[in-house]
Amino acid sequence: MNLAASSFGAAVSIGALTAIIGALATARSRSTLVGIGTATTGVAALLAGGAALTGESFSLAAPGLLPLSGVSLTLDALGALFVAVTGGVAVACGVYGVSYARHGLDSRLVQAVFPLFVVAMLLVPVASSVGTLLVFWELMALTSLLLVLAEHRRRPAVASAARWYAVMTHLGFVTILSGLLVFAAHAPGDDFAALREAEVSPSVAALVFLLTLAGFASKAGILPLHAWLPRAHPEAPSHVSALMSAAMVNLGVYGIVRVGFDLLGGGPRWWWLLVLALGAVSAVYGILQAAMSTDLKRLLGFSTTENLGLVLIGVGAAGLFAAFGDRVLSGLALAAALLHVLNHAAFKSLLFLAAGSVLHATGTRDLDELGGLRAGMPVTTAAFGWGALAASALPPGTAFVSEWLLLQALIHGLPADGGADAIVMPVAVAAVALTAGLAVATFVKAFGVGFLAKPRGEAAARAHESPPTMLAGMGLAGLACAVLALAPTLVLPAVGAASGVALGGEASAVTGTVTIRLAGVAGSLSPLMITLGLLVAAVVSLGVLRAVAARRARRTARLWDCGGGPLSARMEYTATSFAEPLQRVFDDVLAPEQDVDVDHFEESRYLVRAVAYRRAVPDRVERRLYQPVLAAVAAWGRAGTRLATGSVHRYLGYGFYTLCGLLILLAVTR
């Protein structure tokens, strides 16, 4: 038994044990024990993933464990990457949960389900048969649903969010189920080895791909199946949001890569054009909605849609290049996508944990009521700032490296071929660039309005720093961000190995120790050097400024305030006002609803008593796409009540007549 197998076994058994402890331990010790247990599970999973990424692997088949299909597990490099990511996020969230869960989240159910959720997410990328994958996928959906519901007694919005999540995740499950079952029906067996060998006709393969794509994309929060994400992520407890947003949505990407590349062996161009287009639309639309959002966690949720969209751009581009036969570029694009998965997991868990800390201190997620948190919560502010920098794709942030790799792959793909490719690649480059720009604006808004300036509400003024274990959880996530930002070369071989599994074993697309060099195409980048350069530039310019300023006489004076009295929090930019110019620019896309009510004095029309301004940016995709469907379902349901008159005899009669009708049909047609 090698390291990968033993540590994976340890991860699963510690997780299961922690779930039992969570159900049995006393209320006082529960959250501590579960937090430590979950973190240990994460460490073991990290070890297992790391060992498997360096070449070890293991397989396990237990045909008797589940009825019908049994359980079969295989840990290869592709799955190991996702196991390691989930493990890493679980470490940070487990440590964070020790004290975060004390405040109303320490019920037996929540504490028992939390480690189970982590275990389910660890098992999904390791499953190596259709039945096993579906069982663990469903386990993951159910446990996450229970966790989303954790605070349903406190806020009525939780129940509605959970309903959306439950319906959409199960519809996704149904499409994945039908896709994989169709696939397995055309193969000699239902384990992945048999599926790889299967000779399926192109139309069946396309059907399988489209069905599974719909299910996996909905889990990844990709448009137009994203509607659950901005609802469920804000309403879940923050460490659960972090797990969902940084680990669970990744498994959607895993599913697309596993089925599309590994099992179906690539495919025609249009599959990957579709994936790329979905990714590009999700990236731009997600970040636009995030820029408009005033709810901190909703903003982060939409940013998840954006980042997963970027990942899908990479996956789509990789598929497209592979379909053209360009193995170098396809390896590069997939490596960029997988590296972005890693980076996104790191900074999104940091951001969600910091948002949880804010929620813990102030009780509100509304950016318009926050502000001035820097004084009360310096560590949380620093953590969120570091996460925001990482998310906005600027050096020395983490997302910069992966987005740079992605852009390199897309730009070098330009002259590959005429036709669709020549149009798609520039558009994709533009989408990535636009997304990156909007991301900067979004996170400047979130950080500047939420944490700097003066407090705009009573709660924000009384904010206090969180307990040490929560800070430690954020610190771990922040450390991961720093490592990924400064030394991406440490993880790039692992990412290369993972993409090698998907695309069929080839050398890593990226080489180098300090400087990243692209293999096969021109291009190099050294994040460490850029960071050092930026630091030197910052120190020098500050020094020069200070030296220049010291020479002049200094005068301290009040800030100019138009003569309107001392500056107050009411004069600051709010999240709404900060986003207003962007809202104007993207007016046609967002279709915001604005309402200005001017109230006059009785005496004169020229004297204004009050001006009320209301703005709402509804999700347009949701309104156009979901509401007709929901209306149709509701109408169908109302029509159904005519059948249900309340008479028991009538209900029984339905069954009787159907049975007799069926029997007569059988007798006649046989």
């Binding site: 309340g646 029997l663 007569i664 007798a667």
Partner: protein, 218 residues
């Protein structure tokens, strides 16, 4: 036991089941219905006992005894207890008695037609009685649909279950003991719950005409 005797006994017990099912459809006195139902339980137990003697299987004998106790003893007893507090007569069924009997004839023909392929799979005296079991199922369902009193509906449900059990034994000549015990316990539980509900309904509404429950929906 020789083949002729076995065939005759199977036909006799299966015929008794069918006859009792039709009798339940015909009679309106609830007390009589319960008594006839107990007779049918006895016939079913007899059918299983004949199979047991033919197969010479101790397990089947045990099941036969169990079925006899449950369906000819316990269930009729429970029904009679519910009867003590409920109305005495099935008034105004949704389909009158004459039409019910005609419908039963049609259902029987349907049962014969649809179970013909089953019989032809493995023709034997036991499988030739399958149509009777199917007919009992359909008649039980018919009782469930057309009778108004809660008690006669319970009898309809039990008739349905008797038919299913008979078909099960006739096709496989031996359901697993554990399965049979599980099913029997289910039926017992269902009857207990229904009895409870009947009593509560009578207390709440003074009647057990199920059509009176129409207002309860939504």
């Amino acid at each position: 036991m020789n083949e002729t005797l076995f065939t005759q006994l199977v036909d006799l017990t299966a015929g008794a089941m069918l006859l009792t099912a039709v009798l339940i459809l015909w009679r309106r006195e609830l007390a009589v219905i319960v008594r006839v139902f107990a007779l049918q339980g006895l016939a079913l137990a007899g059918l299983v006992a004949v199979l047991a003697a033919h197969e010479d299987s101790g397990e089947l004998w045990a099941i036969a005894v169990g079925i006899g106790v449950l369906r000819a003893g316990v269930l009729p007893y429970l029904l009679r207890r519910a009867l003590a507090v409920a109305a005495r007569r099935e008034t105004a069924p949704l389909v009158n008695v004459a039409a019910s009997l005609l419908a039963a004839a049609v259902l029987m023909m349907l049962a014969y037609v649809v179970s013909a392929p089953l019989v032809s799979l493995a023709p034997s005296p036991a499988t030739r009685a399958i149509p009777v079991g199917v007919a009992v199922v359909l008649i039980g369902f018919f009782v469930l649909v057309t009778r108004r009193r809660a008690l006669s509906q319970v009898v309809g449900f039990l008739l349905l279950d008797n038919g299913i059990t008979a078909v099960g034994f006739l096709t496989t000549a031996g359901i697993d003991l554990a399965v049979e015990i599980g099913v029997s316990l289910d039926v017992l539980l269902a009857v207990l719950v229904l009895q409870l509900l009947t009593t509560r309904m009578r207390e709440a509404f003074g009647d057990t005409d199920l059509d009176g429950l129409r207002e309860l929906r939504d």
